[in-house]
């Protein structure tokens, strides 16, 4: 199943993340796909804001995994841009995060589709040439996400 929408500014992408966050549950996993500059980190900043996490969410490209606590639940922010092999992700102990006590969001998750359970939500962000507009497509098979995404878009 898919739900499409669009945002006009980075702030709107963040705000959508913040609204979606209020429906998250521990164990939820979101795969973010989209090119450089598509707004992936901006969306995660919104999620953190929506969970009531203080402190700045920054790009995890260098650290691969960043953990944010102090909100409604822990938020685990992955960026697998620089990982090439599934073994790398296993070495990093991804399962402890995916099936842990918080919500996990993975930038560039498409590189390792096999690790995502069928209950995961995928969000594709597409950048348009020389504008701030982004096409967003939510892809999921778990029916629960339909209600969540629709509520977040309201």
């Amino acid at each position: 199943m898919q739900i499409r929408t669009e945002t006009q500014t980075p702030a709107e992408t963040g705000a959508l993340g913040a609204r979606l966050a209020s429906f998250l549950r521990p164990g939820d996993i979101i795969n973010l796909s989209g090119d450089l500059g598509a707004g992936k980190t901006r969306f995660v900043q919104g999620l953190a804001e929506g969970l009531g996490i203080r402190g700045q969410v920054t790009s995890p490209t260098y650290a691969i995994i960043k953990e944010y606590r102090g909100g409604a639940m822990p938020l685990y922010h992955f960026d697998v841009y620089r990982l090439d092999r599934l073994m790398d992700l296993i070495d990093l102990g991804y399962e402890d995060y995916f099936f842990g006590d918080g919500a996990t969001v993975v930038e560039w998750g498409d590189k390792f589709k096999e690790v995502f359970p069928s209950s995961a939500l995928t969000l594709e962000l597409i950048r348009h040439d020389a504008t701030d507009k982004r096409d967003l497509t939510f892809v999921f098979s778990d029916i629960r996400w339909q209600a969540v995404v629709e509520a977040a878009l309201r």
């Binding site: 980075p10 500059g37 920054t58 260098y62 650290a63 092999r85 790398d88 040439d129």
Partner: protein
Amino acid sequence: MLILGVETSCDETSASVVEDGAIVRSNVISSQVEFHRPYGGVVPEVASRKHLELINPVIEESLAEAGVGFEDIGAVAVTIGPGLIGALLVGLAAAKAIAYTLDVPLIGVNHLEAHIRANFLEDPALRPPLVALLVSGGHTILAVMDESGRLTTLGETLDDAAGEAYDKIARFLGLAYPGGPEIDRLAALGDAKKVILPRAMIDRDDYAFSLSGLKTAVLNYVSKLEKQGQEIPLNDLAAGFQAAVIDVQVAKTMRAAKEYGVKNIVLAGGVAANAGLRAALKEAADEKGIKLNAPTLELCTDNAAMIASLGYEYLKEGKTIDMTANSDANLPLSS
């Protein structure tokens, strides 16, 4: 006292012997940049595997160069964070084993603080208070050090780190890895006025940085020209990008120096090697009668001498760690 420093937070395996926190007896840096080049960035698993292969030879080399043996070492200082967790753990495990075997103190050092420390190692006359601009692959932080040496973070990047922005843009433009030196090199050949890019947050009266918007501006600029079938003026684009990054960093650093009334500014971190940044900050500092310190290349990049040197200060304060200590990938500069 001789302190053995061990640093494995990212892509460098490094070991160093430093005497009394001040005299660098050896500083062995086994640069892995050559190894990472085909991947267009630091590949973490590769990094930790290479650290494992290199850690013992690098430590042995650092002792040999210093002309000492394990029995001469009085304490072991090791980076405990921030960095890549798998890479950090290799250094910590090695340091624990050595400290345990020799029965000497083990010191866990903050990598970011050590970068700032590199300036004191190079210039023993340097005294706080000072403002520090720490720019690297994973960090962009402006901090103030008070007279007692205590660091307070004034602001940092809200999204991408400076070195990360350089690497991502370089990769996007198909330039050689590492991206920073390559953009720095091209920028010197180009005209920044020909490609004007946004100076994010330059007018905000805080010390935060943002590089994500600049990254997007470069992408938009390139795709616009491509659509028009025009060639990308790489040198001018590199110059325009670099000027946009540097202008904001210089403006905020100078503002912090004024607000805190300091007469010293220090650059730290791998991006401190950037010639454009050094020149621009030096010019602005000179104008205000402020002294700028910037470490030589060897002490800018990740290295164990800065770890051993700061470790000596920690030891004087009794800040040691025990065998149960863990690495902290997200350790902040100041809490």
